[in-house]
């Protein structure tokens, strides 16, 4: 997710050059992101335009707890969701196949129309935002460790379970693992690792209260 850095103050000052640069870096990815769901060039272009207009309108309230990329793609996700609600059609990726609904998992708010929109995440409590950031760092370190060790199958298993909500027995079949107990073991060790890292990241016992309550492992 690393990339060019931008001066948020310049964007908030509505400077043409800053916005041109910002748009130049992101517009293709935003376009292809929305096109994945609409499969129609004109609609994808219209939605991409809406995304940047939303960014212009929303930049004054930009929350630095998020990256600009998260800010922008949060708007993109909501424009896609709004589009499908407006047209009352089921959201399916354009490139439909047997696993077509998997990318729904990446659109956070699909299942709850009344759920807060990313812009409203600004009201997310400070402690919840801190927990999210710390857990993100912890998860990232776990993923990096698996990459470095070349443990790509384990990484697939964890993403399948954590992100897609897959079941152990399906993971075993999908990844050619002997049985679902082995999958459960991968999951268990990952959870233990996450909890250990979370404890290290929470020396004041103020972030992950559940880790410190009596009886917790």
């Amino acid at each position: 997710m690393d990339g060019p850095s931008f001066d948020v103050a310049e964007l908030q000052a509505m400077e043409d050059a800053a916005w041109a640069r910002f748009q130049e870096v992101f517009f293709r990815r935003v376009y292809f992101f929305v096109k994945r769901y609409v499969d129609d060039h004109q609609t994808a272009e219209d939605l991409t335009q809406d995304v940047f207009l939303g960014a212009v309108r929303g930049i004054a309230n930009y929350d630095p707890a998020f990256t600009l990329e998260q800010f922008l793609f949060g708007i993109a996700k909501n424009r896609v969701i709004d589009h499908f609600r407006k047209h009352r059609v089921t959201l399916l990726p354009a490139k439909a196949d047997a696993d077509a609904d998997k990318s729904h998992a990446w659109l956070e708010n699909m299942a709850a129309p009344q759920a807060p929109r990313p812009a409203d995440d600004l009201v997310e409590s400070e402690s919840a935002a801190r927990r999210r950031r710390v857990l993100g760092q912890i998860l990232r370190s776990l993923v990096e460790e698996l990459w470095q060790a070349g443990e790509f199958k384990k990484l697939q298993v964890l993403e399948y379970i954590f992100v897609l909500g897959g079941r152990n027995k399906d993971a075993a079949r999908l990844f050619g693992i002997a049985d679902e107990k082995a999958v459960a073991g991968i999951k268990f060790r990952a959870i233990e690792k996450l909890r250990a890292l979370a404890r290290q990241s929470d020396p004041n016992h103020s972030l992950f209260l559940g880790l410190w309550s009596p009886g917790s492992r």
Partner: protein, 99 residues
Amino acid sequence: MSGLPEDEALDLDVGRVWRLERVSCPHVDVLRAYHTGSLPAGAVEYLRFHLETSQCPYCNASLEDLRAAEADSGQDVLTDVRDRLLRSTRTALRRVGND
């Protein structure tokens, strides 16, 4: 204590944070290496999973971008899109700036 995705001990939905923070999305240079076929087999297998089974829309968008940059016709379409976007964004900047 129950495990994921809603891990009460961590007071967060791990899956939600994983998606929001895009913790397993590779750097664009890794996607480029995947695109050019210069990644080792294990990493290729993982990226294929991330793109095709997990269907990460962000990385698929980045990959489409890399593919389009190679194809002249696709790039022409996006050049027009960029020009129209610049015009509409500039108009919005004036409007918001005047509010």
